[in-house]
């Protein structure tokens, strides 16, 4: 039962990645694209956690943590760049 649920959840997460990708390509402004990129990062971390849950391996959470940190830093840096025109003042 759990393997079916994980398969369905992986399909749902793939669908949400596709929806965020559509917003990334379509987005009328740069901020929409940054937001779509942030959503892609968080959903990728969720997908890695699910993959580790499917395999029963505990190590994948480190990769998920790294991806979440990189996503946050990317969002902050791009927003700072859009606001200030410079990242480090």
């Amino acid at each position: 039962m759990l393997s079916y649920a994980i398969g369905i959840a992986l399909a749902l997460l793939g669908l949400s990645l596709a929806l965020a990708l559509v917003r990334l390509m379509r987005g009328p402004d740069l901020t929409d694209r940054i937001l779509a990129l942030d959503t892609l990062y968080v959903n990728s971390a969720a997908m890695l956690i699910l993959y580790g849950l499917q395999l029963g391996v505990e190590r994948y959470y480190e990769a998920a943590l790294l991806i979440a940190m990189l996503g946050f830093i990317t969002t902050v840096v791009l927003s700072k760049f859009l606001t200030r025109g410079d990242v480090i003042e």
Binding site: L13, S16, T31, L53, V76
Partner: protein, 116 residues
Amino acid sequence: MQASSLLDGIVAVLVLVGAGFALIGSLGLLRMPDFFTRLHGPSKATTLGIGSLLVASALFMSFRGPGLSLHEFMISLFIAITTPVGSHLLAKAARHRRVPGSEGWRDPADDQPRNR
């Protein structure tokens, strides 16, 4: 056997709820009318979704793995702290770029109500 199938059921429900919330967040990102409403979907629904997935992973690894595993909550805590910060900075960047909001949105820069 009974406890194991109960654990499987709880983890399956948590996984499905988490993936459903992540899908709702991305759907809001795609379908909402302007940027400031689009910001709501990924910042709330996706955070709740990945939190539920991490609770499922912590439960499963604690009962099936070698011992108690709570380090999944580190990711949960990290995302719960960083998502409001990122959303705030994105909203500030959008305000700076004069991204058009919905009806009745007042831009303090020109102090004129728009679309009203």
